[in-house]
Amino acid sequence: MPAPAPLVEMRDIEKHFGSVIALSGVSVTVNAGEVHCLLGDNGAGKSTFIKTMAGVHKPTSGQMLIDGKPVHFSGPRAALDAGIATVYQDLAMIPLMSVTRNFFMGREPVKGIWPFRYVDFDFCDRITREEMKRIGIDVRDPGQAVGTLSGGERQCVAISRAVYFGAKVLILDEPTSALGVRQTSMVLKYIDMVRKKGLGVVFITHNVRHAIAVGNRFTVLNRGKTLGTAARGEISAEELQTMMAGGKELAELSSELGGTV
């Protein structure tokens, strides 16, 4: 059986901001039904990379393929339409707005004839409540403000929103970095659930333990470059940790990773 084309393939992505080289040749593939962890210390280029993937930045050079076909995104909307949804660190959630309004923000289902089109809020409320129930969040009232939810709950709402709207690839930007232990396990459990649905997940973190908990493959970024990609079981948490810190010689790491550098 021929291996299906990866959902997303990023080839030798470079991104320059003026004289600053944020990315100098990063390659990553994301397959269906896997969690691909992107690790790296602060300033390694993780954020720039995922923003390129999400259509926020245009790569200076390099290729991006979706289902094996080259694409160029004109903006975040284009990426979204291609099935790449991003859950940003700052959540893309608006605390003052209700859970429902946040859930459907930018994609409100409308009813009626123009110019009397209105948002079908009954439908929105029902879907929101059902989706929240499915991931085990007790939303007493979908009309309550997102600000009343915990950090973990907000992450889960953001993820379930992306899934509901048909994302094929989910980019999660440090979803667990600001969370407590219980909140983190809630989010990790949900990430695993999403993976089992057959989505490709790009999980950005600098917490190795969180990565090991759900990841199938691990890519380490350092100073705008890929240090290497390893599959689950090929690499230990300690090795990943050392690599992120950039404390060992590249050659030595290369052998440990089975020559994938």
Binding site: Y88, L91, L96, E108, V119, A145, V146, T148
Partner: protein, 384 residues
């Protein structure tokens, strides 16, 4: 991929059998629901002010004619305040609306009197001009990234100055332009549009009511109130429309989102720039409408039209529950805020209280409203 489709919209309703209403819904109590409404403060304010005047003022204030007396100025302010509230929910300010009233009043009067254009054309040109100015305001704010407070403060002065200069130019030295009413009622077409933008509505109904002794009338048979001042009708229609747009439509959700967090909104696919620009245009058009209504009503325009109205409009919006930081508020609240204003402004003349207390009231009300709004917001959103 079929598994992932399972999360799609199509199959969801079938998964939860039977009744979908969540039994936990009850936990959000009636009081909390009411507290969550941004208009709460305004409604409370209206009740307090009404009770106060019922106790203090001459009883004629709450007769029909008295109510029309304070609703008319409330309506003019209200139209501005509704525009201001939408813009504030969208996260921006417009300090130029007062000057915009003067400036568009000049444009309108010049079209009608100086250029002798038919009324509908003059109205269309005035609104188009206001929209263009709003577009300019919006584009400057968006492209420079400057706070709208500063940009529109600049236009507060620019437009006021242009109104003075333009009036002198149009009249040959005066800062007042007269003769609008005469010029605006020349043809039957003009007269038809004049009815929509000036005078009273439902005059026939009121005459009939008076003839049948259903409302108060003068000895000569004329009703004491000949109709509802047209600006009140405009005010009510705009309030209903704005409330519907803000709370029920997609554009309304985008307004909340743009004001709540524009980055988050943009990441979710909301066209933040378009939303904000259109809001500046709407606010300016509200100012132009007020200009048209007041110029036709008085038959003249002058450079002091709309003086300090931008502040009153913003205060009314804040009393109506708009947060200064954006993302939260209500058009209905702003409308109620404007009614409170009109009530106090006119109501004081029905009492023995010195009318200049109005300004004291204005400031105190603003302070209380901001204070109240902040408390409510923290309660409702669980902010700590």
């Amino acid at each position: 991929m079929s598994q992932q489709d399972a999360a799609g919209p199509s199959q969801v309703p079938s998964e939860v059998p039977g009744h979908v209403r969540d039994e936990r819904l009850k936990e959000a109590s009636f009081i909390l629901r009411m507290m969550r409404r941004p208009e709460l403060g305004a409604v409370m304010g209206l009740v307090i002010v009404t009770v106060f005047f019922i106790m203090v003022a001459n009883a004629t204030m709450f007769e029909f004619s008295g109510i029309m007396n304070f609703l008319a100025p409330a309506a003019q302010l209200g139209i501005l305040a509704i525009g201001a509230s939408l813009l504030m929910v969208g996260g921006e300010f417009d300090l130029s609306v007062g000057s915009m009233v003067a400036f568009t009043g000049l444009i309108f009067a010049a079209c009608v009197v100086t250029m002798g254009l038919p009324l509908p054309f003059a109205i269309a040109i005035t609104l188009a001009f206001a929209a263009a100015m709003g577009l300019l305001n919006g584009q400057i704010v968006i492209h420079t990234g400057l706070p709208s407070f500063i940009v529109t403060l600049a236009f507060l002065f620019i437009l006021r100055g242009l109104s003075l200069v333009g009036l002198k130019w149009a009249t040959g030295g005066s800062t007042q332009l007269r003769g609008v009413r005469e010029a605006a009622t020349e043809s039957p077409l003009d007269a038809f549009f004049y009815e929509i933008f000036a005078g009273d509505a439902f005059e026939g109904l009121f005459a009939w009511l008076a003839a049948n002794d259903l409302i108060a009338k003068f000895p000569n048979g004329q009703p004491k109130v000949t109709g509802i001042p047209i600006e009140i009708i405009w005010f009510a229609l705009i309030a209903i429309l704005a409330a519907w747009v803000l709370t029920r439509t997609r554009y309304g959700n985008w307004i909340f989102a743009s004001g709540g967090d524009q980055e988050a909104a943009r990441n979710s696919g909301v066209p933040v720039r378009r939303v904000k620009t259109s809001l500046f245009m709407i606010t300016a058009c509200c100012a132009a409408l007020v200009a048209i209504l007041t110029v036709l009503d008085s038959g003249s325009t002058d450079a002091r039209r709309g003086f300090q109205k931008e502040f009153e409009a913003i205060i009314a919006a804040v009393i109506g529950g708009c947060l200064l930081t954006g993302g939260y508020g209500s058009a209905v609240g702003a409308a109620i805020g404007a009614v409170i204003f009109g009530m106090v402004l006119i109501g004081l003349t029905y009492t023995t209280i010195d009318q200049d207390w109005y300004l004291v009231f204005l400031g105190a009300m603003l302070l209380m409203a901001v204070f109240f709004n902040n408390i409510i917001r923290k309660r409702v959103t669980g902010e700590r």
